[in-house]
C-alpha cells in the first residue's frame, strides 16, 4: 500500500483510539485489530463483555486495562447471557444509548456459549455479539473447537488424525433464529468490518458478527503474514464476506475472482500435512458452499 493509500485509509476511520498499547496479545494477533476497529465504530458509550478467551488475557492483568471503555470479564459460556443482563440493567436505569458489546472467541460461541447465544437470539435481546474466530481454543493451547475447519491440525486433532468434521456453520444457525442482522468479516478488511459494526449499532435487536481473526501462533504462520492470510481466506472463498438480514436476505460484501485454496493453505503450518487429494476435496467443498451462498444472495 502506498503512503497515499495509507493516509486515505486513516482518514476513513475516526482518530480516537480506545485500545491502548501494553496489551498482552501475541505478535500479529488478528483479534487486536478486530477490537481496535470495533471500538472506533462504537465509541466511548460502550460496555464490553468478555468471556474466557484470548481477550481475557489481552485486556490486561489487574490492575491494568488496555481498553478505555468499561469491561466485564465473565464465565466462559456466559457472553450472551451476561450481555442480556447488562442491557436489561441499563434500560432499567434509564440508559438507552450505551451499546453492549459481547466479544467472544469461537470456543465461547460455537461450543460452550451456544446455548446462551441461541437464547439471546431467540428473545432478540438488544446487543452486538462479535465472535472473533481464530478457529480453535487458542488461549488454552490450540485445541480443536467446532469452528476448526475440516482437516486442520490442532493439538487434539494431530496431523495423522486431523479434524474429521466440517466447520460448524454458525451463520446458518444465527440465520435460523431470524435475528435482524448477521454478518461475516475479516481482519484484513477493516473498513468492511467498521461499516458492519456501525450498521449493527443502529439496529435494535440481536446483531451477530463473525470475524475471521488470524492467529499466527495457533495457525503456525509467520506473524508478518497475518493480514495476508486473513485476506486470502476471503479471496479463496474459504471465508466469504456477506450479510444476512432477518435470516432471509443475503448480500455479498466481496465477490472475489477465483483464487485456489492452496494459496491460503500453503502458508500455514496447521495445513502442512495436507495431501494434494485432500486439498482437492477442500477446493470442491469451498466451491459447493460458494455456489450455495451466491444462489441465496441472488434470490
Amino acid at each position: 500500500m502506498s503512503s497515499q493509500e495509507m493516509k486515505e485509509m486513516e482518514r476513513r476511520f475516526p482518530e480516537e483510539e480506545y485500545f491502548m498499547s501494553g496489551h498482552l496479545a501475541c505478535s500479529g494477533c488478528g483479534a487486536t485489530i478486530g477490537m481496535r476497529y470495533a471500538l472506533k465504530a462504537l465509541g466511548e458509550e460502550t460496555i464490553v463483555v468478555i468471556p474466557a478467551c484470548c481477550w481475557s488475557m489481552i485486556a490486561g492483568v489487574f490492575p491494568y486495562s488496555s481498553l478505555k471503555v468499561p469491561v466485564y470479564h465473565v464465565a466462559f459460556e456466559t457472553a450472551a447471557s451476561t450481555a442480556t443482563g447488562v442491557k436489561a440493567g441499563l434500560e432499567m436505569k434509564g440508559d438507552a444509548t450505551t451499546t453492549v458489546l459481547a466479544w467472544a472467541g469461537d470456543g465461547g460461541t460455537f461450543d460452550i456459549g451456544l446455548q446462551a447465544l441461541s437464547g439471546a437470539a431467540e428473545r432478540n435481546e438488544d446487543f452486538i455479539y462479535v465472535c472473533y474466530d481464530n478457529e480453535a481454543y487458542m488461549n488454552t493451547g490450540v485445541q480443536r473447537s467446532s469452528a476448526t475447519p475440516f482437516l486442520t491440525w490442532t493439538t487434539t486433532t494431530p496431523a495423522h488424525q486431523a479434524k474429521e468434521e466440517a466447520k460448524k456453520n454458525i451463520m446458518e444457525i444465527m440465520a435460523a433464529h431470524r435475528i435482524p442482522y448477521a454478518a461475516t468479516a475479516s481482519v484484513a478488511y477493516p473498513e468492511d468490518f467498521f461499516n458492519k459494526i456501525k450498521k449493527a449499532k443502529e439496529i435494535k435487536g440481536l446483531k451477530f458478527i463473525h470475524i475471521l481473526s488470524t492467529c499466527p501462533t495457533g495457525w503456525r504462520l509467520p506473524t508478518q503474514l497475518s493480514i495476508k492470510a486473513a485476506r486470502l481466506a476471503v479471496l479463496t472463498r474459504i471465508f466469504p464476506l456477506y450479510e444476512i438480514a432477518y435470516g432471509e436476505k443475503y448480500t455479498l460484501s466481496v465477490k472475489p475472482e477465483f483464487h485456489p485454496v492452496e494459496e491460503y493453505l500453503k502458508i500455514q503450518g496447521r495445513f502442512s500435512h495436507l495431501t494434494d487429494s485432500e486439498i482437492e476435496v477442500i477446493q470442491e467443498n469451498v466451491e459447493k458452499a460458494w455456489v450455495r451462498l451466491v444462489k441465496k444472495a441472488e434470490a
Binding site: A59, H73, T84, G85, K87, L90
Partner: protein, 384 residues
C-alpha cells in the same frame, strides 16, 4: 395488609416491595409459583422490572450478574437442579461482590428424581460466598427477602433466602404484607460505588495474580464477618418499623435445658409443639433455630449452648461420607469450647419424608437415654 397467601407468593411480594429492577428466571418445581406471580406483577405494572425469560438457570444467574454489575437490583429464584446448574456462577457473583438476592426452595438433588423437601441443594453451595437465610414461615420469607437486599447491598455479597419445598412454598398462611411507603423508607434504591459506567470506565474481574488474590478473598471474609453485625442492625431496624425480627438464631425455652434440639426451616414449627409437650411434662427440653447459616452464628451458638449437656441436631440433608451438614458446622463451632455439649446428629425428612412429632419425640428420647451417640450419624426415620 394481612392476607392468606401461598408461601411462594410471600416471596414474590417481598421482591415486588423491594422494587427489584431485573428478574431473570427459569422454571423449576417448586419455585415456579414465585416467578409466575412476579410475572403477573410486571405485566400489570405493580412492579416496574424487566423480566428475562432465560433459557436455563445458568443464564438466569449470568444475567443477574450482568444487571447487578450496572447497578440494577436483581433477583432470581430456583431450586435443586437449577441451583446446582448455577454453581460456578454463585462463586462468580460473590467474588464479583454483587448484592444479588435469590430465593431457593429446598428440594432434593437427583439422581434419582425427587422433587420434595431436602436441604442438600442450598447446603451444597455453602462454600460459594453467599449469605444463607433459612425461613420457617411465609411471613419470615417475605420479611427476609426485603432485609436481604439491605444486608447484601451494605456488605456487597449476595444472599440466598431459603424455604422448604411444599411445606412452605405451597402452603397457605396468614401474612402481613408491609405497605410500600414504609418499605421504601427502609430500603432505599441501590446505588453501588463501583459499576459498569462509560462515564467512569473500569475493568472488572481481570486476571489477578497470586500477589493480589489472597487480599481479595480476605476482604470477602471480612465482609462476611461484618455481615453478622449488619444482619442484627438491619433486623433491629426492621423490628422497629414492622414489628417483626428474627436475628441470626432463635432460642425457645432453653432455660436450664438438659437437651436442646437444633433445627432449621419448617421442622422448627413442628418442634415447638413437641418442646411445649415436654415442658408441660416438666422435662427440660429446649429448641435452637438456626436462621442465618452463612455467616455461621458461631459466637451465638457457643454462648447459647454453653453448659447444655446434650444437643440433638435434625438435618434434612446428608453430606455422604461425613453426615448432617448443620451438625458438622455446629460441632466445628463448638470443638474448642470448654463446657460444650455432646452433639447427636440425626438425619430425617430426606426427599420430603414428613418429620412428624413422633420422629422428633424419638429423637429426644434416644438422646436422653444415651450418654453419647452410638453412631456419628443417626437415622430415626429409616425403614429398617
Amino acid at each position: 395488609m394481612k392476607t392468606v397467601i401461598e408461601g411462594s407468593h410471600a416471596v414474590s411480594y417481598g421482591v415486588m416491595l423491594s422494587r427489584v429492577q431485573v428478574i431473570s428466571a427459569y422454571p423449576i418445581t417448586p419455585q415456579t409459583h414465585i416467578v409466575e406471580r412476579l410475572s403477573e406483577f410486571c405485566a400489570n405494572g405493580e412492579l416496574q422490572a424487566r423480566f428475562l425469560k432465560v433459557e436455563s438457570e445458568h443464564s438466569a444467574m449470568a444475567s443477574c450478574i450482568g444487571a447487578s454489575a450496572v447497578g440494577a437490583r436483581a433477583f432470581t429464584a430456583t431450586s435443586s437442579q437449577g441451583l446446582a446448574l448455577m454453581h460456578e456462577l454463585l462463586h462468580w457473583a460473590s467474588g464479583a461482590r454483587l448484592p444479588i438476592v435469590m430465593a431457593n426452595v429446598n428440594r432434593a438433588l437427583a439422581s434419582p428424581w425427587n422433587i420434595w423437601c431436602d436441604q442438600i441443594d442450598s447446603l451444597s453451595q455453602r462454600d460459594t460466598g453467599w449469605l444463607q437465610f433459612y425461613c420457617e414461615s411465609s411471613q419470615e420469607a417475605l420479611d427476609t427477602v426485603i432485609q436481604a437486599f439491605k444486608i447484601s447491598e451494605s456488605i456487597s455479597l449476595p444472599s440466598m433466602v431459603v424455604l422448604d419445598a411444599f411445606y412452605l412454598s405451597h402452603t397457605f398462611e396468614p401474612v402481613d404484607i408491609p405497605d410500600r411507603e414504609r418499605v421504601d423508607k427502609f430500603l432505599p434504591p441501590y446505588e453501588p460505588k463501583l459499576k459498569l459506567d462509560p462515564k467512569d470506565p473500569r475493568s472488572f474481574g481481570s486476571l489477578t495474580s497470586p500477589d493480589t488474590f489472597t487480599e481479595m478473598r480476605y476482604q470477602m471474609q471480612q465482609s462476611m464477618e461484618k455481615a453478622k453485625s449488619v444482619i442484627l442492625e438491619v433486623d433491629g431496624e426492621y423490628q422497629k418499623i414492622f414489628g417483626r425480627g428474627y436475628r441470626m438464631i432463635e432460642t425457645y425455652r432453653c432455660e436450664d435445658a438438659e437437651l436442646v434440639l437444633v433445627t432449621t426451616g419448617t421442622v422448627t414449627s413442628t418442634s415447638r409443639e413437641v418442646i411445649d409437650q415436654y415442658r408441660d411434662e416438666g422435662k427440660a427440653i429446649g429448641l435452637l433455630k438456626i436462621k442465618s447459616f452463612r455467616p455461621f452464628p458461631s459466637e451465638e451458638v457457643r454462648k447459647e449452648l454453653k453448659g447444655i449437656p446434650k444437643v440433638a441436631v435434625i438435618d434434612r440433608n446428608i453430606s455422604c461420607g461425613v453426615g448432617g451438614i448443620f451438625a458438622e458446622e455446629l460441632k466445628s463451632a463448638l470443638c474448642n469450647e470448654e463446657d460444650r455439649p455432646m452433639v447427636f446428629s440425626y438425619i430425617a425428612g430426606l426427599g420430603g419424608r414428613d418429620i412428624t412429632q413422633e420422629t422428633i419425640s424419638n429423637v429426644i428420647e434416644y438422646t436422653l437415654e444415651q450418654d453419647r451417640p452410638k453412631e456419628d450419624i443417626l437415622w430415626p426415620d429409616l425403614k429398617r
